[in-house]
Structures are given as C-alpha cells and as structure tokens.
C-alpha cells in the first residue's frame, strides 16, 4: 500500500475546500428563497446569520472557511516540524504564519 505523505495537511486542505463548497452552495440556494443583501456582512455577524439562514452570511462563511484552509494547513505543517524538532523548517513555517498574521492585522 502506498504511503500517504503529510496526511493531516492533505486532509485539512480537502476538508476545508469541501466545507467551504458546501456553505457556498447552501448560501446560493438560500438566496433563491430569500433575497441576499448586496454588501459583505460583518464577520462578527456570521454565527447568528448562519443560524438565521441569511444567504450573504452563509456565503461569506464559506469564503472565510476557504481563506482559513491554507492558513490552517500552514499551522499543521508548523506543528509537524516542531514535533520532528526540525528547527530550520519550523522557523520558516513560523515566519510564513507571522507574515499572514501581519496581513490579517493590517486588513481588519
């Protein structure tokens, strides 16, 4: 049997895309029943909006999951490198996470 490389990373990417896709399809279907707002809802409105079946909120949640997917796979890889005591690559992956954190901090 073939060995799967970095199974947790592959699973994270696949699972993230599937969850995001499901939320996007659900949001678009909701928009056929009730009209969606034109603007982007606030990120803090997502939990309540999801429960209320707000189409734009459900789609925004799908897009947020989509953006979080590569971010979480970077966290997974960082944990992998730290557990393997692979200091150079752990430092590099922490560096990538640090840059992403700056990007998020300057955006919100």
């Amino acid at each position: 049997m073939k060995r799967s490389h970095h199974p947790l990373v592959a699973w994270t990417l696949n699972g993230g895309v599937l969850l995001s896709f499901a939320l996007l399809v659900l949001g678009l279907m909701e928009s056929l029943i009730r009209p969606a707002g034109a603007g982007k809802p606030d990120i803090y409105e997502i939990p309540a909006g999801l429960l209320a079946g707000e189409p734009a909120v459900t789609v925004t949640a799908g897009l947020v999951v989509l953006m979080l997917t590569p971010l979480i796979r970077s966290v997974m890889l960082t944990i992998e490198f730290i557990r393997e005591r692979d200091t150079p690559f752990a430092m590099i992956s922490i560096g990538v996470l640090f840059l992403l954190a700056i990007s998020i901090a300057i955006s919100f």
Binding site: R3, V17, L63, T69, P70, V96, S103, S107
Partner: protein
Amino acid sequence: MPLNEMLLLIAGGVGAGLIGSLFGLGGGILIIPMLSLLLDVPMHNAVATSLMCVIATSSAAASKNVARGIANVKLGMTLELWTVAGAMVGGLLAGFLPGKALMLLFASAISLMAIPMARGLEGEAIDPDAEGNETPGGTSFISRLSGEFHDPARGLDVSYQVGRLPLAMGVSSIAGVLSGLLGVGGGIIKVPVLSSYCDVPIKAAAATSNFMIGVTAVASAVVYFGRDEVIPMLTGASVIGVFAGSRIGSVVGPKIHANRLRQAFAIVMIVIAMQMFWRALTGEVR
C-alpha cells in the same frame, strides 16, 4: 441574487475554470476579463473574486499532490516566505491604484503570457522528462530541500536536488506581487524558472507551485476582504463555477490534445488583452 444571474456566473466560472485548467493557466485568469468586460464588475472586485477562485482550485489540487509526495513541501514553505511577502505588497499596492491602472497591468500580463504560447515556444524551454540531479546526502539547508517522488506515468522514482535557490526566491517574490495585484496564481512564472533553472522536475515544480499558491492568495485575499472588495454572492457563484470547471478540466484534460488548441487560445488571450487595453484607454473602468 436572481437565478439567471447566478446561473450565468456559475456557467461563466465553469468555462473559465475548464479553459484555465486545460491550458495550465489556473482557474482565475479568465474570470477577471469575464467579470470586468462582460459584467462591468469593478476591477478590484474582479481581482478579489479571482483570488478566491485561485485558493479553491489550488487547495483542492494541493491536497492530492501533498499526499502523493509530488509537492516538495519544504521547498514550498521556504519559497512561501517570499511569495506571501510579495502578495501582501501586491494587495496593498492595488488599494492605491485605480481600476484603469489594474486593467492595463492585467492586459499587459496576459499579453506577455500569450506571446510564447502563440509562437509555440511554450514547452520548448521545459524538458518534461528532466529528472534533475541525483539526491545527494548531507545535512546542509540546500540539500534538505532535495526531493523524491514516484512518477506513475513513467513508472520511475525521480529524485532531484534544488539549485539556484536565490533565483527561486527572487522569482517567488515577483510572482507574489503579481498574485496580490492581479489576482493570478503566479505559477506561469514560477514553474518555468523552477524547472528550467533550479533543477526541479516539471511535475514537482508544478505541484510545489500549486502548493504555494493557496497561502500566497490568502495573504492578499484578506487585504481585499478587509477593504470590503469581496462581493459575497458574486464571488460564491464564481468560485463554485471555476472549481467545478477546473475539476472537469483535470478529468478531460489528459484525454484531449490541448496542445493543439494552445496557439488558438493564445490568440483569444491577445484579443481579450486588446479589448482590455481599449476599454482602459478609451472607456470608463470602475
């Protein structure tokens, strides 16, 4: 969102994703002209939509390439430092540029991509059978970037050592800026350089580039998201379409001779670029 508008976006996305996948251009590259020229969507919103499409298509492909060991994860992480920094700069820079300037830059970029395709030069610079160098032993940083994978098409185990790392880093920064600025993946410049100059076999180069693209696109997508330039319903429908189209492309691609269509498609790209130049120089661009 009205049903007809949603179906139009999904169908357009399927077409863009399918064509992008068949010609190795990525899912997002055709969605920008489709949104900006046909649907009059402002350029910044079109770029934001394209970035989301890029994250979806690259994450799905990367999950397979990582599991199969074709993507060189250590090389990818090392170069991501540079692509992510570039993408942040590109995303921030786009905020200072008007839509007209973005359209001109995008038209210039796709013209440059189309010229080697139209002249039939693409592929000559890359040897698809290149196996790179033998994997050396050693514990130096560069030797730890070496890779090994099984190529089922040729029934061979391929091993290689990465060369010219500073060049790969420099090109990755440029690819990152282009990604953040224009909403493209950047593989079109990373893959040829990695395979032709850095001794990475073409399959590993493409898979490693794809692995990096998702994180790179996120670095600038959050910048667009924070500026409220992501239109949820439009983006959601486009992502579904492009994702479905690129999946269809990955299934039908190996069965059709896409190379024969490359030159014809390059001409289409040049026509699109001309239309974008014309619109940017004579019309109103939002």
